[in-house]
């Protein structure tokens, strides 16, 4: 780890990231989100994490994947070029872990997502360890640590006052760090301690099995009856990646577009002919939670929730993972 003053750190980062797009946490009105700015910034002390995380800068809300044109009965297709070299700065460990999860999902055979992977290969991730958690953070319950680097190329640890520690975790990170003048030292960093913890009914390893055994539990209905069927929880979630594809057609020419979808939306699982295997909010809320805590861990060995707390804080009807575990455990209302 190199020790450096804040102003020197920003100058160094700016120099290394020359020519790249800077995506940084920005406060718009009263809400934090990741936005394009002309360089890195110092966080105000009340900044915890952004409402809208960096996911959209790797997997955009919608993007063209190809352009097509029909001429004389033949179609010509041009793949879209949807990337620019970028630095995403100030990413919290829960979101870094989420990006690591997305990386492996998007790279999986037989159909790796080349567009995501290309964009990812042109992205430098500068992480920022947490010194304070927000009221809904519960990363540690999910085995995520608020000072861990995960997908980050570089990690920043706020120390005392103006002092920061910087460490590198990849090739490009090491190249950048080599250009930083600063003293090499070990510094003690005291990470945030999230106040919220999940009421875990069993160990993390056993959770998928525990949930599978409760697939038909009436607790799901007691939780989900008040769900509004919006896409808020999935869109804010750093690990939700489901998408849909449709064509924007303008008379024989157009583009094929990929856009975020969400298993909580009412038309997500509706099939041609009208049948819907998940007809009510009970099946849909169950699907979202089971995908995170049961199906994905069972198949890939990794929990698909990093405890960022966004779905807890922002669900307009107060539906959240702690409530789910409690209700399924037969405790409470």
């Amino acid at each position: 780890m190199k020790l450096v003053r804040g102003s020197d750190m920003l100058r160094w980062l700016r120099r290394c990231g020359e020519g790249r797009r800077w995506v940084v946490p920005a406060k718009e009105d009263r809400h934090w989100l990741f936005a394009e700015r002309d360089g890195p910034v110092v966080f105000p002390p009340d900044y915890r994490n952004a409402t809208v995380g960096p996911k959209g800068w790797l997997l955009p809300r919608s993007e063209p994947i190809l352009y097509y044109r029909w001429t004389g009965g033949r179609v010509s297709v041009t793949p879209a070029q949807g990337w620019r070299p970028q630095v995403i700065y100030g990413v919290r460990p829960c979101d870094l872990k989420a990006i690591a999860l997305l990386d492996s999902i998007m790279a999986s055979e037989p159909w790796p997502e080349t567009q995501y992977l290309t964009r990812r290969a042109h992205t430098v991730l500068v992480g920022m360890a947490c010194t304070a958690a927000s009221s809904c953070c519960f990363c540690t319950s999910m085995g995520v640590h608020p000072a861990e680097s995960y997908a980050a190329d570089l990690m920043i640890y706020p120390l005392q006052g103006e002092e920061y520690g910087v460490a590198a975790f990849s090739e490009v990170g090491r190249e950048w760090l080599a250009q930083l003048e600063g003293e090499e030292a070990d510094a003690a960093f005291s990470p945030a301690v999230p106040a919220l913890s999940l009421p875990m009914p069993t160990s993390l390893e056993d959770l998928p099995g525990w949930l599978e055994r409760r697939f038909d539990d009436p607790g799901w209905q007691r939780l989900a009856w008040r769900c509004l069927s919006c896409g808020l929880c999935a869109y804010l979630c750093p690990t939700c990646y489901c998408y849909g594809i449709s064509d924007v057609d303008r008379g024989g020419a157009g583009r094929r577009v990929r856009w975020w979808d969400a298993c909580t939306l009412p038309d997500f699982s509706r099939m041609a002919g009208g049948h819907d295997p998940r007809p009510t909010t009970t099946e849909r809320v169950r699907q979202r939670i089971m995908h995170k805590l049961a199906y994905h861990p069972a198949r890939q060995g990794e929990i698909l929730c990093t405890g960022c707390g966004r779905c807890i804080e922002y669900c307009p009807m107060g539906i959240h993972l702690p409530a789910a575990l409690r209700l399924l455990g037969g405790d409470g209302r």
């Binding site: 927000s134 009221s135 008040r226 069927s229 975020w260 009807m317 107060g318 409690r326």
Partner: protein
């Protein structure tokens, strides 16, 4: 004197005992998140103690009443001003049968942003009850004072319907007074109207870029009660799934125009939005037009017949 929760409990219990209703809808304390209250349904008189009424009951209930009463359930609804108007919206839109709801009016002191109170004053949650002192909520017995100016939810800062109207019964609890923070309901609309066109365009474009199109605003809205929303249809595809400035214009203006003349100003869309989109400004622009063009004095109060919901043979404007 506390905030008269026992009065709420007693009335809910009486309605259930007398079988006037099958269930009562209100709020319950979240056992995991001290600052949160979520919508809660009680079916038995012995369980009315699960209901809570304090300054943290943020979620609106009207949209839930719609789905809950579909099967003919008779529902008692704890209703603040916003909830009551939302339920009446659904009644006038023929989505709820009047006889299936019993509205228990709660004069409302305004609701607090729970997370914010939790972050700045967690001791507030040790209260046994609350009093409404106009500009403050005061915790009993601890005496902690929470200034409304600092902690009111956005939707409650802008609220003009604290008094529950058209209810079957109104509980004698504190609250319901005039909201000093909403003296002029069209202030923001006028400010925006005065902006030169390019700035006004930039203002909205900025918000359209931030909007995730998560549909929380639509899903929570009691005026958005169509069986099949035009914005969801694929054939014809009124709204492309592609999210860009143009399609966001279509999304937000379609919704604003579809609820024009029917929006009850409950502020739920604003509360649900995770990015703070100023939906209230769009809706109030429509309300202002209802006032200016049709002379409707309180365009947020549902009526049996409404200017935009009527077909008149002597309409001066022809179909063209």
């Amino acid at each position: 004197m506390s905030w008269a929760l026992p009065a709420v409990d007693a009335l809910a219990a009486r309605l259930l005992e007398d079988r006037l209703v099958d269930a009562v809808l209100g709020w319950a304390r979240d056992p995991d998140l001290p600052w949160q209250r979520y919508p809660h349904r009680v079916d038995e008189p012995s369980r009315v103690g699960e209901l809570v009424w304090d300054p943290f009951c943020a979620p609106g209930l009207a949209k839930l009443v719609f789905r809950m009463t579909e099967g003919g359930l008779k529902l008692g609804v704890l209703a603040r001003g916003c909830d009551a108007l939302g339920v009446w919206r659904l009644i006038h839109d023929r989505r709820i049968a009047r006889e299936n709801v019993y509205l228990l009016g709660l004069p409302c002191p305004g609701m607090a942003d729970g997370v914010r109170v939790w972050e700045e004053c967690p001791e507030a949650f040790d209260a046994a009850g609350w009093e409404d002192h106009g500009s403050h909520w005061v915790a009993v017995p601890t005496g902690i004072r929470l200034p409304k100016e600092r902690f009111l939810l956005d939707k409650c800062l802008q609220c003009q319907v604290r008094w529950p109207r058209q209810c079957d019964e109104v509980l004698a609890v504190q609250g319901g007074s005039w909201n000093p923070f909403c003296e002029d309901r069209y202030r923001q609309v006028r400010q925006l109207e005065e902006l030169p066109l390019p700035q006004r365009f930039d203002f909205w474009r900025g918000w359209f870029e931030r909007c995730l199109r998560c549909f929380a605003c639509r899903q929570v809205c009691p005026a958005c009660n169509c069986e099949s929303c035009s914005l969801d249809q694929f054939e014809p595809n009124w709204l492309e799934r592609e999210v860009g400035v143009a399609t966001q214009f279509i999304f937000h203006f379609t919704r604003a125009l579809h609820v024009a003349g029917r929006c009850v100003d409950c502020g739920e869309c604003q509360r649900a939005c995770p990015v703070g989109f100023p939906l209230g400004a769009l809706n109030r622009k429509m309300m202002k037009d209802m006032e200016d063009l049709f002379g409707v004095r309180e365009p947020f109060v549902p009526q049996e017949s409404e200017p935009l919901g009527e077909f008149a043979l002597d309409d001066p404007d022809e179909f063209r």
